[in-house]
Structures are given as C-alpha cells and as structure tokens.
Subunit: 331 residues, 2 copies
C-alpha cells in the first residue's frame, strides 16, 4: 500500500491512497482525512485503506484521479516526532573528519540518534529555500520508518512489529553552520532546516524480499543537476538497523503514533558507489587528491533522490528539489 | 485569558477556557476543539476565546464546571515544535562544571537552543515515570512562550508580536545519561524524557507589568518533597530574552503555529535564592563545602513548580509530579 498527502486541505493536507505505479490517487475521507489521523488509528484503518489500494490498482475506483507530484506535501506535513539516526558509520567518519570533530569510540557500539524538528516537513517537489548560499547547503539522502504507538523500554525484537511504513527523505544540512552550533554541545537546530520527503509512505510488504523486517537492501540513488552523486545500498554497512534505532529511542519515553525514525545518510565503505551527500564526496576528494573540487549546493541547483526496486521501478517516487534564495515577504 | 486541555477527548485533549482563579472551566467546541486548532487559527479565534473568558470570570457561563487539575493534560498534549533554550548562563556554567564539560565562549554572545521532543507532553499532575532511579533524575523549572506562525529570518523586534501565550514547565532531565549521550555530539534524546507543563497557557496581558514583552520578572518557585529548592526571579540574569530566542530559531526555517520556545532552567547568580534544579544545588554544595549532599530524585519523591503574581496568587497553577518506577505493561 502507498499513501501520500495532498497539499490541499489545510496544514495537515489530505490523505490519499496512491496506486502502485504512483500515477493515480483517491481521497479517503470516510476512512481518515489526514495521514496523522490514519496513524492515530492504524489498527482500525490499515485494512480499510488496503482494500481501497487494491481496488485502485484494479481500476475499480470511479473517482480516482491522475496524481501530479507537485501537488503533494510531505506524507506527514507536520509530525510530532522526528528522530534521526546516524546508523552508517562510514558517513559519520567522513563528515566528522571534514569538520575536525572526534569520532567517539561509543559510536561503534551505541546508536547515535538526535531529535529533529518536525513542524514543517516539505514535499517532494518543494524548493529548498534558504537565505544564504554560504551556509554550505548539502543534501543527505536517507531512509526512514514510521511507527504506531511504541511503549517505553522495548527491545529491538519487539520494535519490529511497530514499523508500519517506510519512506526516503532528504535531510537538508547546512555544513558550514554546524561547527559553531555543535560546539555549543546540544546538537543541531539552525544547521538542519526543513526535511523533504518522498511522495509516498509505503507498507513494508511493498518492498518484497528487499525488506527483511530490519533493513531495506536496495540502492538509494542521488543526483545533483542530473549528475550521479551516488547509489550506495541501504542494506550494506548499516551499523544499527531500524528496530535497534526504535528500541534505542524508547529508553526513557514512549513514542507517539506517527513517529519518524531516520537511518542517517546512507553510506557504503565501497567508494565506487559514490555518496548520498556532498560533504562525503568532498572529504573523499581531499583524502584521495588533497584538493576539494565539489562545491556545496548553489541557488538554482537541483537535487534528486530516488529508490528503484529490482525491476527498475520507482518505489517511493522521486524527491526533486531546487535550491532557491529566500526573500522575506513584504510586511 | 487562560487556556488548558482536558485529557478527555482524545490524543489532543479538549480545549477549555479556564477562569482567572483556575477554579472553573468551560469547553469551547464551537470555537476550537483543541489547543492546536486554536493556535492554527489564532487571529480568527483569539478574540472569541477572550469573550468566553470574560463571561466565565463574570459568572455568566451556565455550563461552567469545577476544574479538577488532575483531569488536565499538558495544554498542548502533543506539539509540533519544542525548542528549548539555555538562556540563564549561571545555570549553564554550574551544570557544565558538574559534568566536566566546556563552557564555550560563544555561549555568552550566541543563544543556545536545542531541539526537544514533543510527541508526548505530560500534564501538571502526571507522574514522572522512569525505569531506573540511577539515571540521575532531576527537575528543571523553566518558562516558555508559545508562538503563532513565525516567518523565517525575523529580528527579535519582529518576534515580540509572535508571542501569543506564556507558561511554565518542568523539563525533566536524566543527569547521569547526559555525559555519554552528549559525548556523541548531537545533543539530548534519552536524557530528556517527556516534559511536564503547568495547567494553563496564559496570554501576556494576564502577567501585568511583570511581562515587558520580552521577559517575565517574577520568581519561579520549586519545591522537592515540600522543601523549598529555589525561587530565582525569571527576569534576572536572563542572558537572552524570549524574542531573541525566537529570532535565533528562525535563521534557517519558519516556525509553525504552536511552537513552544523554552527559556532553559531559570537561574540567578544570587545563590541565596536557591535553584530550579537539583544539579545546580549539588554543584554549589561541592564548590562551597567540597561535598555533594543533595541526591537526585528517587521513586516516591514529589516535585512542585509554581509562579505567583505580586499578590501571591498562582498564575499558571502548580506542576506537581511524583517520581514513579516504570513497569512494562504485560504483553
């Protein structure tokens, strides 16, 4: 099953069931008006949504409409909990080296998660709007899972069943704001602007045997201005799988329905597959040639993040965003 | 005007207008069913809610009921953005010293804010439920403001008008989980469990001349097991006022309606007024006598946080919480 949110309908958008080929959609107000309302009552509405999905794929929904991806908000346009991990340590090693930061030994045994901001998630075709090109604008292509209500203090084995939906995202990062912000000791705020999401969330069964209940073993493909940046396999070199991240997040709290748990930037140790962010490529250039050639994103640049199944079909639809200068609205 | 949320009515509770003396309340489904819905349409509903408030105080609401504070959720039971500051540097200096952390020079000129978790805010009489007494359980008594929609990149002067509501809170902290978590470099997650809020949010006009548009100059009073912990004045030794914190948070993002911006633990350099958390008192004991006498919170301990106006009347109502051992529900 694939689910999305139209921008139309208010701050939380309008929930739509999307066809497997991402071409058609239908509203489901009689089941749930918004994605959050569906997640709040997942055990009641999940099967009803699936029944609509089956009919939509079978061409049996009379009022199904052609889906224009530019009409889509993030599947959860605003969320209550966005907890991002840093589960690919080859990424952590490279970007920390780039900013001259330590790589604490604990990172190899204890998952690193951080609290993201979730009041303004942006859609798959929304611009990346920022005031200053000099902040070191970068993409970070990631995977994420979405949970139902998760009790406090569960194990990774128990977490498996709480993963209800899967997606990909672009965790936009401002590399040159990070050193000063992280030096203050309490993590990111200004250096992590709004995160962009793929057109749809999908249920794990859509992923076939690429999903083993704990990780998704397919390449995540990133382009900048139509040039391939990388296609690392999300199932390779993952130091902490999703149930482990979910369990880690529950040590001292329960998690509300609709919690989004991210993997962190997908990264493989095999450098021939490229990277999911520019900072990694820049660091590899420096290590290999002594010189950084790749710039950060500039106004007008376009990033594209996508994941295809084994037949080459896009699972989540592409995230395709242009970097645009922020202009203050006239008062 | 004073506003609260009953636990009854679902995940977002039920919005009620509360009388000035915090004794009576009335539901307002014809105006807004929940606090978030009111904040989403504040410019439309603010005056209508105020009209109900005036009638409630005048005894003109026929179906007003006696308000039992144990029936209250946090005024925003789940929020989209909880951005906490660390604006009282006397607190930052003491707690960083306690965990052997640096006090970067930048903290004296650049506000420190961090991204809090907001999917499960807890009510003023809710227990602090945690699995392990050995985590260094501490209270942190703070102030917070709640905003409407705030554009990206505004100035502190522009931020003043976006502050719609004010409250107090207990930002429960797990001191002994912090050193290892902060060493990983990306801030708090496990070491900051659910935050508890006062019974009500109030509009700034309720604060009289104690509120100057930028800060609230009244003592914030904290007790542990009926013993006074401290009563520092929230208007004293505040290094960064609320509009400055709001503006800082908008550098690379807009803020959604219902954003909560916290002051960080209220702390004065005058040690005779005591502290708003145990860690400060412990550090002062160590500095003054070489020996820490005050323990962290234990199961069964009760904390109380409150703020009175100049006539001694409670403005927000008390936060009164017992620390309780978490028991996993039977599967």
């Amino acid at each position: 099953m694939k689910l999305a949110s139209l921008k139309a309908g208010g701050r939380d958008g309008t929930l739509v069931v999307v066809s497997k080929d991402l071409a058609k959609a239908t509203k489901v107000p009689e089941i749930a008006a918004t994605m959050q309302l569906a997640l709040d009552r997942w055990s009641d509405v999940g099967e009803r949504l699936r029944s609509v999905y089956d009919k939509l794929n079978g061409g049996e929904i009379a009022d199904a409409f052609e889906l224009n991806h530019a009409d889509l908000a993030a599947p959860l346009p605003r969320a209550y909990q966005w907890c991002d991990g840093s589960a690919y340590l080859s990424h952590a090693e490279l970007v920390r080296k780039a900013r001259g930061a330590e790589m604490p030994e604990s990172l190899y045994s204890d998952p690193l998660i951080y609290q993201g901001g979730s009041d303004q998630m942006i859609g798959p075709r929304d611009d990346i709007v920022l005031a200053d090109e000099g902040w070191g604008i970068d993409l970070e292509a990631e995977l994420a899972v979405i949970t139902d209500d998760v009790p406090m203090g569960i194990t990774a084995e128990e977490a498996v069943g709480h993963i209800k939906l899967v997606t990909i995202l672009n965790d936009v990062s401002l590399r040159l704001l990070m050193p000063a912000e992280l030096a203050k000791g309490f993590g990111f705020f200004q250096s992590k602007p709004s995160t962009a999401f793929a057109p749809v969330f999908v249920t794990p069964d859509e992923l076939g045997d690429a999903w083993d209940g704990r990780k998704l073993s397919l390449p995540l493909v990133s382009h900048v201005n139509s040039e391939l940046l990388g296609r690392p396999d999300a199932g390779v070199d993952l130091n902490f799988d999703f149930p482990t991240l979910v369990a880690h997040a529950t040590k001292s709290r329960s998690l509300g329905a609709g919690t989004i748990i991210g993997s962190g930037t997908v990264s493989n140790r095999d450098r021939s597959v490229g990277s999911s962010c520019l900072q990694e490529r820049r660091m590899i250039e420096k290590i290999e040639t002594g010189e950084i050639k790749t710039p950060f994103l500039k106004f007008g640049d376009v990033v594209r993040v996508e994941m295809m199944d084994k037949t080459g079909t896009s699972i989540f639809g592409p995230i395709e965003q242009k970097v645009v200068r922020y202009e203050r609205p006239a008062v």
